[in-house]
């Protein structure tokens, strides 16, 4: 694992054996395993929610998207190699990020923007059961958009010139008197830029991600050169990754990502 993640993705959700302590039958567990963060799983009570899942061998990340939990306590993540310890807990804020090895609290991000948690760690050697306890400080019924674990691919930082923009799906129309009718709907983010990488990483991103999975939705972590800015989005490639062969040691990869709903 590089110390300076630029663009990271996890193409395939390999989480299995997912169960929850409480389930609203109208919002089943399948909803947190599909690829729409806005298709919600919901608990059927206002108590803390315990979700148990198995991460298969080789998993290197754990993501939660679109949850209203104000804290998540991972109570039984116990890696044999000692790179993780039980009982790590994230409080307050709505967005968390931690990169293994943990340096809590310095690695915790609390942007409060996206109700998201993302953790990366060294690949686990065998299947691991993980138990997550979701709590909401106001005792709202817990909902979860995506629960995801799997292997990862990553690159260096975007080069200077990396861009963030937004796509607004709202409805806007002029009214008779010149005023505007506006119905706010979802606004998603998109990120684009160029990464300078080795031919080996270029091969992984071009073949193992872009060609193999196309424009499939998956979790992404995106950083710019300022490490304070880091985004975790559930998105997809807006277009297939393209590359320029600069010389025998360097490729420029154009990676354009858009958030999905």
């Amino acid at each position: 694992m590089t110390e300076r993640i630029g663009v990271l993705c996890s193409p395939l959700n390999t989480t299995t054996n997912v169960s929850a302590s409480s389930i609203n039958p109208n919002f089943p567990i399948d909803n947190m395993l599909d690829e729409h963060p806005k298709m919600l799983f919901k608990s059927n009570s206002t108590s803390d929610l315990t979700v148990t899942a198995t991460m298969i061998a080789g998993s290197e990340c754990l993501f939660i998207f679109n949850t209203n939990a104000t804290s998540i306590n991972i109570t039984s993540l116990d890696f044999a190699n000692g790179e993780w310890f039980a009982g790590n807990e994230w409080f307050a804020g709505n967005e968390w990020f931690a990169k293994f090895p943990l340096e809590i609290p310095s690695e915790i991000f609390e942007s409060g923007e996206n109700n998201t948690m993302g953790i990366t760690f060294n690949a686990i050697e065998s299947n691991k059961s993980v138990e997550l306890v979701f709590s909401n400080v106001d005792h709202d019924v817990i909902n979860i958009g995506i629960l995801w674990s799997g292997s990862i691919e990553w690159t260096n930082n975007y080069m200077y010139g990396m861009a963030e923009s937004q796509v607004d799906y709202s409805i806007l129309k002029p009214l008779s008197n010149g005023a505007t009718y506006y119905k706010k709907r979802d606004v998603v983010r998109s990120f684009s830029g160029t990464v300078l990488e080795s031919p080996e990483v270029m091969d992984k991103m071009l073949l193992d991600v872009s060609r193999k999975y196309g424009l499939k939705s998956m979790p992404w972590i995106i950083s710019d050169l300022n490490d304070d800015n880091r985004w975790k989005i559930f998105g997809r490639l807006n277009e297939p990754i393209s590359t320029t062969y600069n010389d025998c040691k360097h490729n420029e990869l154009n990676i354009n990502i858009i958030e999905v709903l």
Binding site: N31, I171, L175, G178, K183
Partner: protein
């Protein structure tokens, strides 16, 4: 205001919309477009408010467990701020239309009951005829005449051959400037000049409006009797009579003339408003033209179009525009 569409595919209910909504159910964004869900009165002056259900286009993943898509599905479309408070726009059997790798489209074909009648004579009143038609041996609806005219217009009509009962009711009610609609197991008979609810709209509620001037009518004729229209050089209208007496026919024609000689107002609302229904008297002020006006009209047509990037509701009716 959100759109809630319950679609039953091979006996399984699916909760879908043009956006993700989590309420009592999780409404999945699987609807590409709902086009031309329309309630419209059959004649400009009355008749059956015959639902024209339009079509519903789904995103193919809705049918991932039911592919190829079945010939028929059922859909119920509601709009509202919440799932429990949503009001039903239509409930319909849907017949498979066009489908390809990007969309699966169904045409809504309604669920109205139908019956026919042969060689019958009608006398008494319009309400008497509707009572006869709604009898349990025929259409089997409960008749609601709360907003029908009092006294009910007299009918005298002999029909030969086979006739569809709903079509007969549509013609008869239009002739006497009534309209009717069916909701659940109730048939509502309503005077075209009755106000089923007054609604006032401001210029923040609608997009630029168009006005279509009234029909130019020179003569209205029925059963050999005629009355003059207001435009001597206009066209003539001949309507099949539902009475034989001159005074009854002329009275009916006068009412038809009043309806037809009003301007046709088409108003696109800024958003779907489930508070406006057919028969409502809508008043709005328009200060966007060369002169300021107020218009009052009775809604005789409502049209809905819903897609992933737009929601439109268009109401139409005949009314009078005056300067302010």
């Amino acid at each position: 205001m959100s759109v809630y569409i319950t679609t039953t595919i091979n006996s399984t209910d699916h909760y879908v919309s043009n956006e993700f909504i989590h309420d009592i159910h999780m409404w999945d964004a699987k609807v590409e477009e709902v086009s031309n869900i329309t309630s419209v009165i059959e004649y400009q002056y009355g008749g059956y408010m015959r639902p024209q259900y339009g079509s519903i286009t789904f995103i193919p993943t809705l049918f991932k467990n039911d592919f190829p898509p079945p010939e028929t599905i059922e859909s119920s479309i509601k709009v509202g701020d919440t799932e429990s408070g949503a009001i039903q726009l239509c409930e319909s059997l849907c017949s498979l239309g066009l489908y390809d790798r990007e969309i699966i489209s169904y045409n809504a074909i309604g669920t109205a009951k139908q019956d026919y009648d042969s060689d019958n004579s009608f006398s008494g009143t319009l309400i008497d005829m509707f009572n006869w038609a709604c009898d349990s041996s025929r259409l089997n609806y409960t008749l609601d005449t709360t907003h029908a005219r009092t006294p009910s217009p007299a009918i005298s009509k002999t029909l030969s051959g086979d006739n569809l009962i709903v079509d007969m009711l549509s013609e008869a009610s239009a002739y006497f400037s009534h309209y009717f609609y069916i909701e659940g197991n109730t048939l509502y008979l309503i005077d075209m000049f009755a106000n089923t609810g007054s609604k006032t709209l401001s210029e923040f509620d609608y997009t630029p409006v168009s006005y279509q001037s009234s029909e130019d009518i020179s003569l209205l004729t029925s059963g050999g009797y005629s009355i003059l229209g207001s435009t001597p050089s206009g066209h003539q209208i001949d309507i099949d009579p539902w009475h034989t007496a001159q005074s009854n026919i002329e009275s009916a024609l006068q009412n038809i003339k009043i309806s037809l000689e009003k301007d046709l107002i088409t108003l696109e609302l800024s958003h779907i408003n489930n508070n406006i229904a057919i028969g409502n008297q809508v008043t709005f002020t328009d200060q966007s033209m060369i002169g300021d006006t107020t218009t009052t009209f009775i809604v005789t047509k409502i049209n809905f179009n819903i897609s992933v990037d737009d929601e439109r509701m268009i109401i139409e009716g005949r009314g009078i525009t005056t300067s302010i």
